[in-house]
């Protein structure tokens, strides 16, 4: 049975995504909707990771659940200051686009890994895992959709104006 490693990987992906979302939000604090939405999504990712933990343990994976990484906490305020100071140069819309694209891909990776976990849960008749997948994957799909929405809005102005 290879379910354990997939769940461990998924846990890692969600934890990383939470950190990255916080970092993106802080870096683009002057784009206020991005700041708030990324923080909301980061909390979601952390909930996903926490929900995975007991199931992963059953498959012999001891995933730690320390919440946000050390650096993300320490650098938060520094990034925020930087973001307001660079918040008025046109280049920051390109940086935003680059960051959104990167996180879109990370969220996609989470999403497809949830698909794998869900398929495995069905084959293993693991109702508990299936419930976790149902609850979390839907939210990850919304995250992906939000990235698409935001990238669609940001691209014309960042790429075609000026």
């Amino acid at each position: 049975m290879k379910i354990g490693p997939v769940l461990a990987r998924l846990h890692e992906l969600e934890t990383d995504l939470a950190d990255e979302l916080r970092a993106l939000g802080e870096r683009h604090a002057a784009d206020h909707d991005v700041f708030h939405q990324c923080h909301t999504f980061a909390l979601q990712c952390e909930r996903h990771a926490a929900a995975l933990q007991p199931v992963a343990a059953r498959y012999g994976e001891d995933v730690d659940d320390d919440g946000p990484g050390f650096w993300s906490g320490l650098l938060e305020s520094a990034r925020r200051t930087a973001s307001t100071s660079i918040g008025r140069v046109p280049e920051s819309s390109l940086l935003l686009l680059r960051d959104l694209r990167k996180l879109f891909l990370q969220a996609e990776e989470c999403s497809i890994t949830w698909v794998m976990a869900g398929q495995a849960a069905q084959a293993a008749r693991d109702q508990e895992l299936l419930d976790v997948v149902r609850m979390c994957h839907q939210e990850t799909e919304i995250q992906v959709k939000w990235f698409v929405t935001r990238i669609k809005v940001a691209s014309p102005q960042a790429l075609a104006v000026g």
């Binding site: 708030h36 140069v89 919304i142 959709k145 939000w146 929405t149 014309p156 960042a158």
Partner: protein, 747 residues
């Protein structure tokens, strides 16, 4: 019949119009003597107000005659605004536009308009901006006012369009007010309500509002919820309706989709849980739900307490859900009024000036855009439809970043009305941003402009506009504009001509030159859309009552209420929007919408309540909600110049709960300092209606009448010094009702 009238001396002739000081749009006649407006009287013949007028309508006309009207264009030279000729000013505007179009492209130009112009002005602007210049950056201050109303109607019913009419008050047995204080915002509507509430066989009234308002005092149940918890309260009512079987199962099966998901989402919102979130008694939640559950005709009103608050669109949709659960729509007395704030906000939406495409067209539907391209005789690609039209807050962000270099602000005052004013002022002050302001007065915003264009007001030009219940009124020109002031439509025509905007055959893009021609073109654009105006003419609107759209061959006398057949415009070919995930604003595609398969059924959309972005905390222990007072409108550019209205409420104040005030040692009239992470204001305290922990400040007051400035140079007093830059993820309406502040007494 009572005809409300206020005139300054005798009247030589009366000229037909309607009031432009709230969304109720009362019909009135303008009294004229010696070429001057000298008063108004209500029009008894009209369906909306039957001769009645509110205080703003009665007295507000005096602003037209104010001594400080702008009468000549102003151009900034050596840092000062100086008088100039129209030729000089418009040349400068056109030159700067051409320069940016050539060097940075159409996306470097933005237009920020209002809820105060006429259909003819707006539609001309929409064509110039979207079809001519080809910029996606055209939005209205209606973004702060009715964006959520429109959006919630799109999410639930597939398309904008007020389902009910104000006459439904006469037939309802229950009224649910969510975040609306009709007694201050729409006074004639409130008179209409009082006729019922204090008459025989009165309806029962429920009010959801953090303040003990006049409307709340006349209610059976007042849920004085914490700001930012509308969604929890409405989910709680839905939970009770479902649990107690107070739902119309047959209606839900036949005419809605999404019930199962709604049931699942609201199931945890028990009265006890709602009581905990909202800070109200569980028994009151049960009583409110019980009254709604027993209603035979439920009429629901929603306004800024929802639209400008946390989870705005989700909450407005939750109000729609309550009516749909009970099958209460499309019947006399049973329906929904997602209210508007401004008098012509409806037209901002219909003409494509509020971040929509004209005629409630769907930017994701190529067939809709192709219709516009054909009507305007421009290439399909010329009309931006790669994304939703840019919303105001994003436009200001682009101006902050420098990618918008030209911003034309029309009939509105963002330097007082947008959140976080120090930020807005600093954006408008940038040298790299060319700011054009068209207005009747030198507003705070106009003081920051590079070019100021003097505009004609209501009564000084001909046109049409539509109130919150789809009633279209004609407003005749009563007098000449002062000095060189011009109607907005003429200003846009001049601009289009100077830019040489053409259609794809090399002909002038804008094919009209008079208001009536513009109206006819607008009508053609609405043909076949839910807001069909094709049956209306200026002639038909002259003399009698206003008429409600849709008005066409099938409904030549207009339409009192929509959806009487319970068929909703949710087909993929007709709908204005494919909808959003309500918590994040993630946009659904045509394919996803088709898979939902609503096919004429309404869409029950549910979302979980979440904590507001800013929640009162130790260092900022109060929640500030900004709002309105009965005597003023928007930023007082007009009402502050009407002596009676100005005298009634000359200065701002902060309303505090008496218990909070006592704890802080604050007495009535003491100056208090309110401070948020964004700024501070100092205003006198009034001990009145808000629940404990909540402070209320009217948002109308800026600085033009206390020191001739765009910003504070004495005590800061504009409520928006305190508010935060954040907006609803779906409607993009800024949030003004949940800012954390601290309060202290000052000398």
């Amino acid at each position: 019949m009572r005809i409300d009238e206020y005139t300054d001396g005798p009247v030589e002739r009366w000229v037909q119009s309607a009031c432009v000081l709230c969304s109720h749009g009362c019909a009135l006649d303008i009294g004229v003597r010696d070429g001057k407006i000298v008063g108004v009287r209500g029009r008894g013949v009209d369906r909306v107000n039957h001769g009645r007028l509110g205080p703003k309508g009665l007295y507000g006309w005096q602003a037209n005659n104010a001594a400080d009207r702008l009468t000549r264009p102003l151009v900034r030279r050596d840092g000062e605004l100086r008088e100039a000729s129209w030729e000089e000013a418009m040349d400068l505007v056109a030159e700067r536009s051409r320069e940016l179009l050539a060097t940075k492209g159409s996306g470097s130009l933005g237009f920020y308009t209002t809820g105060q112009l006429f259909i003819e002005d707006y539609y001309t602007l929409a064509l110039v901006a979207r079809g001519g210049i080809g910029t996606n950056h055209l939005d209205g201050n209606t973004r702060l006012c009715t964006a959520t109303a429109g959006q919630a109607l799109k999410e639930t019913f597939g398309c904008d369009g007020q389902p009910s009419g104000v006459h439904d008050i006469e037939f309802c047995d229950t009224i649910l007010h969510v975040g609306i204080n009709t007694a201050e915002t729409q006074t004639v509507l409130w008179m209409h309500e009082l006729d019922r509430l204090r008459g025989p066989d009165p309806p029962r009234s429920i009010v959801i509002d953090p303040r003990r308002t006049q409307s709340a005092r006349e209610s059976q149940v007042h849920l004085a919820i914490k700001p930012g918890t509308n969604l929890a309260a409405l989910n709680g009512i839905a939970q009770q309706l479902i649990e107690n079987g107070w739902i119309d199962r047959e209606f839900l099966d036949m005419h809605t989709i999404g019930f199962d998901a709604l049931e699942q989402t609201v199931s945890s919102y028990t009265p006890e849980r709602v009581a905990g979130i909202c800070g109200v008694a569980a028994a009151d939640v049960r009583r409110a739900a019980g009254i709604i559950g027993e209603a035979e005709s439920l009429l629901t009103f929603v306004l800024q307490g929802v639209y400008q608050s946390h989870q705005a669109t989700a909450s407005a949709c939750a109000a729609n859900n309550v009516n749909l659960l009970r099958g209460m729509i499309g019947k006399p007395g049973a329906g929904i009024l997602q209210m508007n704030g401004q008098p012509t906000a409806q037209n901002t939406r219909e003409t494509g000036c509020n971040g929509d495409l004209p005629g409630f067209r769907n930017w994701q539907n190529d067939a809709h855009v192709a219709e516009l391209a054909q009507l305007w005789n421009v290439d399909l690609l010329q009309i931006p439809h790669w994304g939703p039209p840019t919303h105001a807050m994003e436009m200001f962000r682009y101006a902050e970043l420098g990618s918008i270099g030209f911003l034309w602000i029309i009939g509105t005052n963002p330097a007082v009305s947008l959140p976080e004013l120090h930020r807005i002022r600093s954006i408008l002050e940038q040298e790299r941003l060319f700011v054009v302001v068209s207005d009747a007065f030198l507003s705070e915003t106009a003081r920051l402009a590079d070019v100021v264009l003097p505009a004609a007001l209501w009564g000084e030009k001909l046109g049409t506009f539509t109130n919150t219940d789809r009633t279209v009124h004609l407003s005749e020109k009563a007098v000449e504009p002062p000095g060189e002031a011009r109607p907005d439509m003429e200003i846009f025509l001049d601009y289009a001509q100077r830019l040489g905007l053409q259609d794809k055959d090399g002909q002038p893009l804008v094919k009209w030159s008079t208001p009536e021609q513009a109206f006819e073109a607008f009508k053609q654009m609405t043909k076949g859309r839910p807001c069909d105006y094709t049956g209306l003419t200026y002639e038909q609107l002259r003399g009698g009552s206003g008429i409600q759209w849709p008005c066409n061959e099938e409904a030549p006398d207009g339409t009192e209420r929509l959806y009487t057949d319970h068929v909703f415009p949710t087909g993929p070919d007709i709908c204005e929007d494919y909808g959003h995930e309500l918590a994040s604003g993630a946009t659904f595609t045509q394919t996803e919408f088709k898979a939902l398969n609503p096919q004429g059924r309404a869409i029950l959309k549910a979302a979980e309540w979440t904590e507001p972005h800013e929640w009162a905390r130790e260092d900022y222990p109060f929640t500030l909600a900004t709002g309105r007072t009965v005597y003023h409108f928007h930023t007082r550019t007009k009402t502050g110049r009407a002596p009676e209205l100005q005298a009634a409420a000359p200065d701002p104040w902060a309303e505090l709960n008496a218990a909070d005030a006592e704890r802080l040692g604050i007495a009535e009239g003491d100056f208090v300092r309110l401070e948020s992470p964004r700024g501070a204001i100092e205003v006198p305290a009034r001990l009145s209606g808000p629940r404990e922990g909540v402070v209320f400040v009217p948002f109308h007051y800026g600085y033009w009448d206390v020191g001739d400035n765009a910003g504070p140079n004495g005590r800061p007093r504009a409520a928006n010094e305190l508010t935060m830059t954040i907006w609803d993820p779906v409607s993009k309406q800024p949030i003004y009702k949940t800012s954390a502040v601290r309060v202290e007494k000052v000398g």
